[in-house]
């Protein structure tokens, strides 16, 4: 079983139909464990109960970048190997990645309100995540702007790869810009010196969210394949009518 075997959409549909229930079940179980653990995690001595936002916020932020990575690999698949499912994977991942990014921004801003006293701060991390969100939206707009999916796929693949090259540069320059304008006004958790009571639920939640992404992504890919079949059937019907 190699990646090339999946090139047949029918085989992919059959395989994913078998895998999907197990993935969904694993996601639900891990999410339940993670949510239970984070609900019973001790309050932070400084932040109180608001520290629990972290268990939602950090996995979302991690996935916002991970999904762009998945899309970049899929774009390589489109441009280099011409894998037929690569552009389906790239297209299906974009809205999911945008949602994770949006949730990271939203939970971050809700966390920021009690902690920093403001919903929005032009902090380096927040700013670069916002730019990432804008790039997701631009990519989705590109997918929606062109009717022919294969034509849109190649354009989106080029843009995704350019974005992947540019994201570290943007991150670096926003960091630089931020230290220039407002030196270290933002309070942060103690970095990697996270206590075990927080670390274990956080890891469980991170794995659960990653599984959630895989599940949603597979389901979205199935939908996209079916949508394309419907589209080609409709076009066949229309051309038959015209003839």
């Amino acid at each position: 079983m190699s990646l090339i075997d999946l090139a047949n959409p029918t085989r992919f549909l059959a395989l994913s139909a078998r895998v999907l229930p197990w993935l969904a079940a694993a996601t639900v179980i891990l999410l339940a464990i993670g949510l239970y653990q984070s609900a019973y995690a001790p309050d932070d001595y400084q932040q109180g109960a608001t520290v629990k936002i972290m268990f939602i916020h950090v996995p979302n932020a991690w996935l916002s970048m991970f999904v762009w990575g998945v899309m970049s690999v899929a774009s390589l698949g489109t441009l280099v190997w011409r894998h037929p499912l690569a552009d389906v994977a790239a297209k299906a991942a974009a809205p999911i990645g945008a949602s994770f990014t949006f949730l990271a921004l939203l939970t971050g801003s809700l966390w920021g309100r009690p902690m920093w006293g403001t919903y929005w701060e032009w902090d380096a991390r927040l700013t670069s995540v916002l730019i990432l969100f804008l790039m997701y939206l631009g990519l989705m707009a590109l997918w929606r702007a062109v009717e022919d999916p294969s034509r849109a796929a190649r354009a989106a693949a080029v843009l995704t790869l350019v974005g992947a090259l540019n994201l570290p540069i943007i991150k670096f320059s926003v960091d630089w810009w931020n230290t220039l304008h407002q030196p270290a006004s933002v309070m942060r958790m103690g970095g990697s010196t996270l206590d075990k009571a927080f670390l274990i639920p956080l890891l469980v939640m991170a794995i659960a969210f990653t599984l959630l992404f895989v599940t949603l992504h597979l389901a979205a890919m199935r939908n996209e394949i079916l949508r394309r079949r419907v589209r080609s059937l409709q076009m066949m019907q229309a051309s038959q009518k015209a003839a």
């Binding site: 631009g138 034509r151 190649r154 354009a155 080029v158 350019v162 320059s173």
Partner: protein
């Protein structure tokens, strides 16, 4: 080499003659800068403070708007197909086209900056700093914007969609361009650090831009 030189000469000639529209970018730049005082008020001290930012934003928008036509006109009259089929590597041809475009549309923006600096009450040092950073930074805008132009021609879509796609990519250039100008005017940071990063960004886009544009042209044209 002669093919590339011929391409540059041709593009320059087309851009500078009637219907080329190379200098419309400068006119747009002037209009944006003139609009600013109406938005923020005719306070000269405030305009001095905002001056570099206004000039950079104006130049960014002007170079973005002129880029729309970089490949479109050639696609319409069929010469883009000849360029893609010719023996010259498409990456080099894209680089040559972008260079010609920068000479015709980017360089005039730099030349116009001192005049516009007068309108914004910038002193000599500030004007020179902004002009110098624009000289170093506008190639980066042209070469990253070229990716958007190539996508625009393969998708038959231009305008707003391309602006939405390309503008986030130009954020680093904007940050370091304005930072270097501000450093030269007010300090306390040295001018050298942001300016060299700005030059580095231009050099990186000089490499990435032609490859990405050529890739999207190769895969997208039919």
């Amino acid at each position: 080499m002669t093919a590339l030189a011929a391409l540059i000469r041709r593009d320059l000639r087309i851009a500078l003659r009637v219907g080329g529209g190379a200098l419309i970018g400068v006119l747009f730049f002037l209009t944006v800068v003139v609009l600013m005082p109406f938005a923020v008020g005719p306070d000269l001290a405030l305009l001095t403070r905002l001056g570099p930012a206004i000039l950079w934003l104006g130049a960014l928008l002007a170079s973005l708007l002129t880029l729309d036509r970089l490949f479109m006109a050639d696609h319409e009259d069929g010469s883009l197909d000849l360029i893609t089929m010719s023996r010259t590597p498409l990456e080099l041809a894209c680089a040559a086209k972008a260079l010609a475009h920068w000479l015709a549309a980017g360089l005039p923006l730099v030349v116009a900056t001192p005049v516009l600096g007068l309108l914004l009450n910038l002193d000599m040092v500030a004007t020179a700093a902004v002009a110098l950073t624009l000289l170093a930074g506008t190639p980066a805008l042209t070469f990253t914007g070229m990716i958007g132009a190539a996508l625009a021609v393969t998708l038959h879509r231009g305008g707003l969609l391309m602006a939405v796609l390309v503008l986030p990519l130009s954020i680093p250039v904007l940050i370091f361009g304005v930072a270097a100008s501000q450093a030269a005017i007010t300090g306390p940071l040295s001018f050298g650090a942001p300016f060299s990063i700005l030059c580095a960004l231009s050099l990186v886009s000089l490499v990435i831009g032609p490859f990405a544009a050529a890739a999207s042209l190769k895969h997208g044209l039919d």
